[in-house]
């Protein structure tokens, strides 16, 4: 056994401009892509493969696509990236809208009624468990290569998440606030507007993000296997042509689109809707983590913890 003197560590406060720059979360955010590109180059140089392309070749490809200097015009449908992107966005918005409307109605009903919940519960779980690939193949076979298969795949992929989130929102409505409103004799219409809807908002936001991000994944898979147009089909085109830069670059177009949408639309709405939260300043960081990684369990399921104690 050894004995010794524990010396307290001296913490030197870092407060210079460089230290502050290094500590800023923006710096960390910007460093991440630099780091990823560096690793990408390291792998490229190590592999020495003709198929594994370096970042600059992907960038060149994307630029060529944007300037319509593309091989895509020699494809079976003679198109360009704008047209394909437009088709996919049309399908995504259609599928997204349907899953939001239908999912909200079913989720509300399931949250309010035990028997409706019992009726739908297993089916929601079954749809949730079915791989998007199966939907893509199945719907492609049934509906052919038009718009229908990708749209239905988008709906089927996204809708269970909308249903589950809306249902949880209804189940978590703050009862003590309804009691308060009733004790003061507030009319039902005011209660709905000022208590019910605001309490559902965090769950609704989570539902929107899931319907969008997971719906997109279902849609692309259906386009790869069951469509002759759209971004999924374009990715498949470049895969068949053995062009790695085409596969990655086409995917990146959507990633960029989604990030811009997140910044321009979602974040603004979230800031407005949740400005009452004490930690409103951190909300973009908290909410962002699950937008494109919905596999994180419980991510996006808003946690409304009542400050209410047990009212004995």
């Amino acid at each position: 056994m050894t004995t010794g003197v524990i010396t307290p560590k001296t913490i030197i406060p870092k407060s210079g401009p460089l230290a502050q720059l290094l500590k800023a979360s923006l710096t960390a955010r910007l460093l991440m892509p630099v780091f990823v590109i560096f690793i990408w180059y390291v792998i490229y140089w190590t592999l020495d493969s003709r198929i594994f392309v370096p970042p600059h070749e992907v960038a060149q490809f994307m630029w060529a696509e944007l300037t319509l200097n593309t091989l895509l015009k020699y494809g079976s449908v003679k198109s360009n990236v704008y047209e394909m992107f437009g088709i996919t966005i049309f399908r995504l918005l259609t599928g997204f809208t349907v899953s939001m409307v239908l999912g909200t109605v079913i989720g509300l009903a399931m949250g309010l009624s035990k028997s409706v919940n019992a009726f739908f519960h297993d089916w929601v779980m079954a749809i949730l468990a079915m791989p998007a690939l199966v939907w893509g193949l199945f719907l492609g076979l049934v509906f052919g290569f038009g718009h229908q298969a990708p749209i239905y795949a988008c709906i089927l992929a996204g809708i269970p998440f909308v249903i589950v989130n809306v249902r949880e929102g209804v189940r978590n409505t703050p009862r003590e606030l309804f009691d308060m409103a009733r004790a003061f004799g507030v009319p039902q219409q005011q209660i709905t507007r000022n208590v019910l809807l605001p309490s559902l908002m965090p769950f609704f936001f989570a539902a929107v993000r899931y319907a969008f991000s997971i719906g997109w994944k279902g849609l692309v898979i259906a386009e790869v296997f069951g469509s002759a147009s759209g971004m999924g089909w374009t990715i498949k085109f470049w895969y068949d042509a053995h062009r790695t830069q085409g596969v990655i670059g086409t995917g990146l177009f959507f990633v960029i689109f989604a990030l811009v949408l997140e910044k321009v639309v979602f974040e603004r709405f979230a800031k407005r809707a949740f400005k009452w939260r004490p930690q409103a300043g951190d909300i973009d960081v908290v909410e962002e983590q699950f937008l494109f990684d919905p596999t994180i369990e419980g991510a996006g399921e808003a946690e409304y913890v009542s400050e209410e104690g047990i009212n004995g």
């Binding site: 003590e176 606030l177 009691d179 308060m180 409103a181 009733r182 004790a183 003061f184 004799g185 507030v186 005011q190 000022n194 208590v195 605001p198 309490s199 908002m201 400005k275 009452w276 939260r277 004490p278 400050e307 209410e308 104690g309 009212n311 004995g312």
Partner: protein, 246 residues
């Protein structure tokens, strides 16, 4: 003048073996500008009584009438936790419970916010306020509808001793000024003696066991001999009734 009459009030929860009697044959009457505390151990039906009086819960049997000069009275409620809408500003929380949301209502809300010393916090969200401030908003909200009777359910039990003490003083001043009828649930005998004219003692099983008048001048301080004696007297009644929580 407000008049609260409770006749043969009975309330039970559950059925069969799970049946729990919360209130058993309660008869009481409270009228005029009085501050009445309802004390008793946990689970004696204090909060249930208040919930029935304010219409949050319904009675299993019995009659409850709350009138103001022979008309239906307008009740206000202060809860154990503030129960504010976290997504609405302090001012909007007060406006939420108003019948009309006109300039007069806004001025009235501002008046009561001033009264609880939060006049400048109207545009803050509840999450930006401390627990004591939130409870003050809850009190201002109840007063802002200018109720005939005010029901308060252990409003200070979540707060630290110093905050609770200063809020008790504010509440007493507001009661004196506005001449409301207050029904105040608490398990703190000291608090009840400090604030009330009258203390109703409930026993486990929801029976009203005693009705004690506290005839002491205000302001009362727990350190004053007369207040300490009155407190000891109520505690003795507790012991006699074997009500001390174990």
């Amino acid at each position: 003048m407000a008049d609260i009459r409770v006749k043969n009030l009975h309330k039970e929860f559950g059925v069969g073996d799970d049946k729990v009697v919360a209130l058993e044959n309660v008869n009481m009457r409270v009228e005029g500008h009085v501050f009445v505390s309802i004390v008793g151990p946990s689970g004696c039906g204090k909060s249930t009584l208040l919930n029935i009086l304010s219409g949050i819960e319904t009675a299993s049997s019995g009659d409850v009438t709350i009138t103001q000069d022979a008309h239906d009275a307008n009740p206000g409620y202060v809860f154990q936790a503030a129960r504010l809408l976290p997504w609405r500003s302090v001012m909007d929380n007060l406006l939420f419970v108003q019948k009309e949301r006109d300039d007069a209502a806004r001025a009235r809300c501002q008046h009561y916010l001033d009264m609880v010393q939060l006049g400048d916090k109207g545009d803050k969200y509840p999450g930006e306020l401390s627990g004591g401030m939130q409870q003050r908003v809850g009190i201002a909200r109840a007063f802002s509808i200018e109720p005939d009777v005010l029901f308060m359910d252990e409003p200070f039990s979540h707060l630290d001793a110093i905050t609770a003490r200063s809020l008790r003083r504010e509440l007493h001043e507001m009661w004196k000024e506005t001449k409301k009828t207050v029904l105040f649930v608490t398990h703190d005998v000291g608090e009840a003696v400090e604030l009330s004219n009258r203390i109703l003692v409930f026993a486990k099983g929801g029976k009203l066991e005693d009705d004690i008048n506290i005839d002491l001048p205000y302001p009362r301080d727990g350190a004053d001999e007369a207040v300490a004696v009155a407190k000891a007297h109520v505690l003795k009644k507790f012991e006699d009734l074997d009500l001390v929580a174990t």
